[in-house]
């Protein structure tokens, strides 16, 4: 483990990513400690600029809610949605990709046609439809984001399975009478996992961006402190109080940057040959 960390830490950008990510995680964990009150409750006069009041150091939004509190609590929402949607997308992708790659033939044809259909459809448009049909609560939004993000992991898993299923150790497994399920999950999957795990960081970064875009359009859960909601709110006062939109945008930027840097760092540490590419 320490050896792996040393490999990871060789790249400065990977370290920066890790520090930023830990910072965002710390914000999410301490949100309840520093801002125990509801972040969507009124805290002061509306449109107070940052650094005017020591208690409301990031200022207040259009209706007088504490921006700092919304940023800290928003970190929870973004990470939560990002992680959960990523887990769902990766699970769907692995299952469909494994079935298509392992069985080939008709199963592969059908599953790949479906994957292609999802790729042809603009995923944000599909997301809009899912939210329109199933409503915009935290749970439905997370599931909807997961449902539009599984195509690339499925293709990756399929490619790995296609190349692994004819290897000798799998033939050996067949000869000693292992069932398909054992072959798929105990033998091939562990070998196919690393590139999919690395790609998970991309899925998570995109999931966070998708949620913020939905929230910006007022189509995400309005009852939670989401960074995208705040940006959408600030749009109405852009001319005079642009900081309301600017601050949460920086939070999103830092989080997405951190997740992708960590992913890239993991990739470089796992495939040292590709370093510098």
């Amino acid at each position: 483990m320490t050896g792996f960390f040393r490999l990871y830490a060789r790249s400065p950008s990977a370290l920066v990513g890790l520090v930023l990510l830990l910072l965002v995680i710390a914000m999410a964990l301490t949100a309840g400690l520093f801002f125990p009150k509801n972040p969507l409750a009124l805290a002061g006069p509306p449109l107070l600029w940052p650094f005017q009041d020591a208690h409301l150091w990031l200022g207040t939004d259009n209706s007088g809610r504490d921006i700092a509190a919304q940023i800290f609590h928003g970190a929870r929402i973004s990470l939560l949605i990002g992680l959960a949607a990523m887990a769902l997308a990766i699970t769907i992708g692995i299952i469909l990709g494994a079935l298509a790659g392992f069985y080939g033939g008709i199963a592969d044809d059908i599953l790949m046609r479906i994957t292609e259909a999802f790729q042809t459809l603009p995923n944000f448009l599909l997301l809009l439809m899912l939210v329109a049909v199933f409503g915009s609560t935290l749970t439905t939004v997370t599931i909807a984001i997961g449902l539009v993000s599984w195509q690339a992991p499925a293709r990756l898993t399929r490619a790995e399975f296609l190349s692994l299923r004819t290897r000798e150790f799998i033939q050996a497994g067949r000869t000693i009478g292992l069932g398909d399920a054992t072959l798929i999950f105990r033998e091939i999957l562990p070998n196919a996992l690393p590139p999919v795990i690395v790609y998970a960081s991309v899925v998570m970064a995109v999931a966070i961006l998708l949620e913020s875009a939905l929230a910006f359009l007022n189509l995400s859960d309005p009852n939670v402190a989401s960074w995208g909601n705040l940006i959408g709110l600030g749009r109405a006062v852009l001319r005079t109080a642009w900081y309301v939109s600017a601050i949460p945008g920086i939070a999103i930027l830092i989080t997405v940057l951190a997740v992708s840097l960590v992913g890239q760092g993991l990739n470089d540490a796992l495939n040292p040959r590709l370093r510098g590419r």
Partner: protein, 322 residues
């Protein structure tokens, strides 16, 4: 000719995909709470039972789902997208009105992302691990992480509100009555910020892939051969490396055409552009399901068309395919 046949076969194979999309979405929309008639009645300020039933019969919504689906598909074959109850005219004409803005935005954003991404990618690859590479790669990472709508809003703050160089939104100056070149220039001014906003994330992706693919190709034997026989460095890059290194980027354009169309939903609503994306958002909010299905159909066709062009380009770049 063989290239065309090949691309044509790919085009044909996208028909089942299109069918899956349409059937899937039609069934999905059956799950939606409330149909067009509900939305219509709500817009009229309520109506009695008899009126709703009559409207349902008029729009064919009283038939079983399977019948509605087959009717819908049959109409699509004839390019009839149905009638928008909200806009009060055929969906096809609603979409046609909104299509130019989106095509213009997508075309300009794609060209910007493609050319800027390639140039920056080449620059970074030629100075790999030196400061220009570090700078370009860092910029790429930041662009990738920037939410497009936020970038758009900040662009409005700086260039429209503070500096007053560009208009904050819209498609052209209303009531100015420009014609010809003056109108083109006017629209171009309105499209500067939206184009930049939509192109940003794709620029970041293309530059990253272009850089990696240049580095890959630069290590290949034929490049060494070209250099060994004394071809000038400029010519090695342009004539030998570039053509090969472009392939992954071109593939990516086809793969991401859908993502770009999705991105234009957000960008169009930031800048109040009267495009397809904004129409999609409006029809979600107004529950105009007929229009929404039509938009999805047209977007899928657009994505398939882009992929067709990409196939042709691909064969042109790589003679081994044709």
């Amino acid at each position: 000719m063989r290239v065309l046949a090949l691309a044509g076969r790919r085009l044909l194979s996208s028909l089942p995909t299109l069918l899956i999309i349409l059937v899937g979405l039609f069934l999905l929309l059956q799950l939606a709470p409330g149909d067009t008639v509900d939305a219509l009645v709500a817009q009229m300020g309520g109506g009695d039972q008899k009126l709703t039933e009559e409207l349902r019969r008029f729009y064919g919504l009283d038939a079983p789902v399977a019948v509605q689906l087959s009717r819908y598909l049959w109409r699509l074959v004839q390019f009839d997208l149905g009638h928008s109850a909200i806009y009060g005219k055929p969906v096809a004409s609603v979409i046609l009105e909104r299509l130019p803005a989106t095509l213009l935005l997508m075309g300009s954003a794609l060209s910007l992302a493609f050319f800027a991404g390639i140039v920056l990618g080449i620059l970074a690859a030629r100075k790999v691990n030196q400061w220009p590479d570090t700078l370009i790669s860092t910029l790429g990472l930041v662009f990738y992480a920037t939410p497009s709508f936020w970038f758009g809003l900040m662009g409005i703050v700086v260039f429209a509100i503070k500096l007053a160089w560009l208009p904050p939104g819209g498609f052209e100056t209303v009531g100015a009555g420009y014609v010809g070149l003056a109108r083109v220039l006017d629209i171009a001014r309105y499209l500067v910020l939206p184009t930049l906003t939509l192109a940003l994330i794709f620029l970041a992706i293309y530059l990253r892939i272009m850089r990696a693919s240049m580095l890959e190709v630069l290590t290949l034997d034929f490049v060494r051969t070209a250099r060994a026989k004394g071809v000038a460095e400029q010519a090695v890059i342009v004539r030998h490396v570039l053509r090969n290194a472009l392939l992954p980027v071109v593939t990516l354009i086809g793969l991401q055409a859908g993502t770009m169309l999705g991105g234009s939903v957000v960008v169009e609503s930031v800048f109040a552009l009267p495009g397809l994306g904004r129409l999609a958002y409006e029809s979600v909010v107004q529950r105009d399901l007929n229009t929404l299905l039509g938009i999805v159909f047209v977007s899928a066709l657009l994505v398939i068309a882009v992929n067709f062009i990409v196939d042709l380009l691909y064969a042109r770049l790589d003679p081994r395919i044709a």
